[in-house]
Amino acid sequence: MTAAPIKLACRNVWKVYGRRPAYYFDSRGYIIEPDALAERLRSEAHLPAVVDATFEVATGEIFVIMGLSGSGKSTLVRCLSRLVEPSAGEILLDGQDLLKATGKELIELRRHAMGMVFQNFGLLPHLTILGNVAFPLKIQGRPEKEREARAREMIALVGLEGREASFPHQLSGGQQQRVGIARSLAVGPELWFLDEPFSALDPLIRRQMQDEFLRLQRMLKKTIVFITHDMAEAFRLADRLAIMRAGKIVQIGRPADIVLNPADDYVAQFTEDMPLLRVIKAGDLATSLNGSAVPEESVAAGASLEELIPRLASGVRAFSVPGEGAGPPALLTAGAVLAVLEREQTRRTRS
């Protein structure tokens, strides 16, 4: 698997609210012990909203940040776009330190390189749908014709043709969020932040919007940081995900890693209700062939184990999982699948 280049890297980022957070971070040369510092901050009437966050997001990847309410997800993603100024740490966008960007550079970056979708949509009430989607282009001073054409294209992309002249309050929540998505995509950013975009929507609409989101992503291949507190949503959408608790990232990994090897009890409890068979994909369990013959039956790497059950029942002992590109196929044995099935069984009986 050829690793995609790193788009966004976040190194030891802290965000502390309180009277004088800077006081705790000006000691250069010290090695900060995160937990101890967070403890001290709390005891001294400060609120560490993000504690020593470190992760990397590869180009074209959907990176989901998940955690309970108040765990600091919104703060973290706002640090990434510098809507919130981090107290300490380093954020590299395409290798450039974002925290060193001047006001002007930052505006340029936001105008071209980043897009963001908000939980409560953040649509401007006085502009029509067309005006809202064209807004980022208007801010850049693009000619009216061009921005209108582009806005119409975006509106069509999210399936809202015909509603261009409506005002936001005339739309349903799901439609409003489509407008929010269209607006954030209007400038064609490579990096896309979504802060709980579907949390304000009904479960049915939410499901529909998730499908829509995946469809768009297959077309557009953005680099995505997606915030959610909904576990099902996180496991559904994520290529990789990070779990936060009280400002700290407690585990980062692919969905299968997290359900199979939870870092601690918190994560284990958190993911307890996730059906393993649905979260784990064929690719997650595949091992290299090691010279054995390529099985006749083959499955896609992205297929969930659930889909394999009927075929296993009909007596298939092994599958070949085609590798990425021209690489050699991998091997998925029925034993591996059955082991997961067994584990699911013991989890069920325990709870």
Binding site: L83, I107, R111, F121, L124, H126, I139, R183, F193
Partner: protein
């Protein structure tokens, strides 16, 4: 395990709370003061010799400052004179058909056909009544004051939003601007700018600024973070963020501010006629009232009322979107069509003036010239019904006003009540009050009992006969227990300032007048509010009445009060009540209608009667809202105090008014600040009480 049991055994049935102890001390002090008051009269009336010449000091400072800065202000005055005269000339020059066309078009755009028809009718009335030129010159002042206030208020609001550090200062200044009666700052303005309409303009601009500041602040503060972040993520520069994201999002609130500012400017322009003596509608009302020409004062008062309603509906129409969406007429009147109609109106004006250069186009004799008959009739009516109006006045005067002012002990003399109280009667009164207190103590707790005791004592001694040290300590103690040390110190400082300025008598007069007005408003307005909450029909009738009462400039309320009750304290009471009765009606109705339905259902489920439900569930639940209404009532009553001075009172408002007549800046400011002090103290006390209830 033993501790709770022990405390249970030792606790008496009525626990002596720590909060009660100082009150007991205060009651003892009151009794002491009352016993000693014949020997030491200073306990009741603050002696003249103890007052400090603060007002004179203020005057000396003002005089010194004024002589230095006067040229600058006179220059400003001269600079403003020109646009003012210009605006006035233009508006008076405009022939009425052009004005009607333009206003009707605006009304159509703002709220549709009905407002347009109303506008035409109102303007026709003004024309026929013969007050067209006066109305236009009033409007010209409003038209100049409003942009000044709007720009100033917006700028200050933005400043307060972007510099949170400045906010306390700003809010404090706004509180003062809104509670110091305008008459009080007319005096320094007069000294600075000299007599004339410019002072009216500037006073209006000052008076009309605070609502704009508050609403701008509110609007900008309430821009949802999602929207402002969306703006930032779109790559807005600071300026783009402000003008393209924050201001448009806050605009509805800012327009509400614009509406309030316009109404305040109108109200003040009319009041400012008192010093002006220039041809405007406020002056018409004032002079006809002074001459007891009731026909004219009603006609001109109606002009003010119509103007106020028209301007209010016009501006609110632009500020608030109709819930049902724009009407057909509103959508038909697009911006372009509006521009065309306005251009047409201008062309019409020029054409008329060119074709008939020497015509005024106004009806030769307005209604006002023919009201001799009406005047006679009204005087006759007042005379014929004198038994009723005089009876009402005397009844309230002797049964409510006097006992409150000089107390039962003071009123029970042959000259007033026709009898004196025998010692037995005195003793009976005391025993009755104490018994009632004991009953309250038994059924509820010490607070209502204490309140009744205070009320009983006040009723006996009267506000004027109540010892001032006890009064100040009592209010301070209340402030301390409700809101903390800072408010208590504020109260003591304020009362001492009033005391040493020799204004205690005026303060007490104000207090008793306001207390009575507020109580009556609460009872009458509260009852109406309850009725409206239960009956759709009453609600539908009361709503437009309340709307109209609230849009009226304060001045208007003097007219009917004066007409039926002549000059005097009772007239002032009626005028104050007319102005202050709306909040209790509104807030009680709103509070009752929005009580949590599940709680009411639970109570009804328990088998409570409707009356029980009202008093035991709905009213207590609605209490915070009702308290806000009480707050508004007190503010309204205090702000009406200065205006009511015109019909004869002896209170702080009168002190301000007299100072205005004598151009005594020091006394005017101090008396004005005293009213502001009362308003701010009452406001903070009630807010603290509401917040305290919310947390417990």
């Amino acid at each position: 395990m033993t501790a709770p049991a022990a405390s249970f055994r030792s606790s008496p049935r009525v626990a002596i709370e720590p909060a009660l102890l100082p009150w007991c001390a205060l009651i003892a002090l009151t009794a002491l003061c009352l016993v000693l008051k014949t020997d030491f009269p200073w306990l009741v009336t603050f002696p003249k010799e103890w007052t400090l010449p603060l007002a004179a000091g203020v005057n000396a400072v003002t005089d010194a400052v004024v002589t230095v800065v006067q040229p600058a202000f006179r220059a400003l005055s001269a600079a403003l004179e020109a646009p003012m005269r210009g605006a006035r000339l233009v508006l008076v020059w405009l022939p009425w058909p052009a004005v009607m066309l333009a206003v009707a078009a605006l009304a159509l755009k703002s709220s549709g056909i009905r407002l347009a028809v109303f506008a035409l009718l109102a303007l026709t009335y003004i024309l026929l009544a013969g007050y067209w030129p006066q109305s236009m010159s009033t409007l010209s002042l409003v038209l100049l004051a409003v942009p000044i206030s709007t720009v100033l208020g917006f700028a200050l609001g933005v400043l307060g939003h972007t510099r949170p550090g400045l906010r306390p200062v700003l809010l404090g200044a706004l509180d003062l601007m809104q509670t110091v009666p305008a008459f009080a700052y007319l005096i320094p303005l007069l000294l600075l700018f000299g007599f004339g309409p410019v002072v009216g303009l500037i006073a209006s601009a000052i008076y009309a600024t605070p609502p704009m500041v508050r609403n701008t602040l509110l609007g900008l503060d309430r821009v949802p973070s999602d929207i402002s972040e969306a703006g930032l993520m779109s790559g807005c520069t600071r300026r783009q963020q402000f003008w393209h994201v924050e201001v448009p999002t806050a605009l509805p609130q800012i327009l509400v501010g614009f509406n309030q500012t316009t109404m305040a400017a109108l109200s003040m322009v009319i009041v400012a006629a008192i010093i002006g003596g220039f041809e405007d509608i406020g002056w018409e009302v004032l002079s006809s009232m002074r001459k007891a020409e009731f026909g004219q004062s009603i006609l001109s008062g109606l002009v003010i009322a119509l103007l106020a309603i028209l301007i209010d509906r016009l501006t609110i129409g632009f500020a608030k979107a109709r819930p049902a969406g724009p009407t057909a007429a509103m959508t038909w009147m697009t911006d372009r069509r509006l521009a065309i109609v306005l251009a047409l109106a201008a062309a019409l004006a020029i054409a008329i003036r060119l074709l008939w250069p020497n015509e005024t186009l106004l009806p030769a004799t307005g209604l006002r010239m023919q009201v001799g008959g009406i005047n006679q009739w009204l005087l006759g009516l007042v005379r014929d019904c004198a038994w009723f109006f005089d009876g009402l006045r005397d009844g309230v005067l002797y049964c409510l006003l006097l006992p409150l002012r000089i107390g039962i002990s003071g009123a029970a003399v042959p000259a007033i009540w026709g009898f004196t109280l025998s010692p037995t009667a005195n003793a009976t009164y005391a025993v009755a009050v104490l018994l009632a207190c004991a009953l309250l103590l038994h059924r509820f707790n010490w607070r209502p009992a204490l309140a009744l005791l205070v009320a009983g004592t006040l009723l006996y001694t009267g506000f004027l006969g109540f010892p001032w040290p006890v009064f100040i300590l009592g209010i301070a103690l209340l402030a301390f227990q409700v809101a903390g040390l800072r408010l208590a110190l504020f109260a003591v400082a304020g009362f001492l300032l009033i005391l040493v300025n020799g204004l205690w008598g005026a303060l007490v007069q104000s207090l008793y007048l306001c207390t009575l007005a507020v109580l009556l408003c609460l009872v009458i307005g509260g009852a109406l509010g309850v009725w409206a909450a239960y009956s759709e029909r009453v609600s539908r009738i009361l709503k437009p009445v309340c709307d109209a009462l609230q849009t009226m400039p304060q001045f208007v309320f003097l007219i009917p009060a004066l007409m039926f009750f002549k000059v005097g304290e009772f007239t002032a009471l009626i005028a104050i009540m007319l102005y202050a009765i709306v909040p209790p009606i509104r807030y009680v109705e709103h509070g009752l209608r929005h009580v949590r339905a599940d709680v009411v259902e639970a109570v009804e489920q328990m088998g409570a009667t409707p009356v029980q439900t009202l008093f035991q569930a709905k009213l207590p639940l609605a209490l915070p809202v009702v308290m806000l209404g009480l707050n508004q009532t007190i503010m309204a009553a205090l702000s009406m105090l200065a205006i009511a001075a015109l019909v004869g009172t002896r209170d702080l408002g009168q002190a301000v008014y007299v100072a205005l007549g004598k151009a005594d800046a020091g006394m005017g400011l101090i008396a004005g600040l005293s009213i502001a002090f009362l308003a701010i103290l009452a406001d903070r006390l009630i807010q603290a009480a509401v917040a305290g209830r919310a947390t417990t």
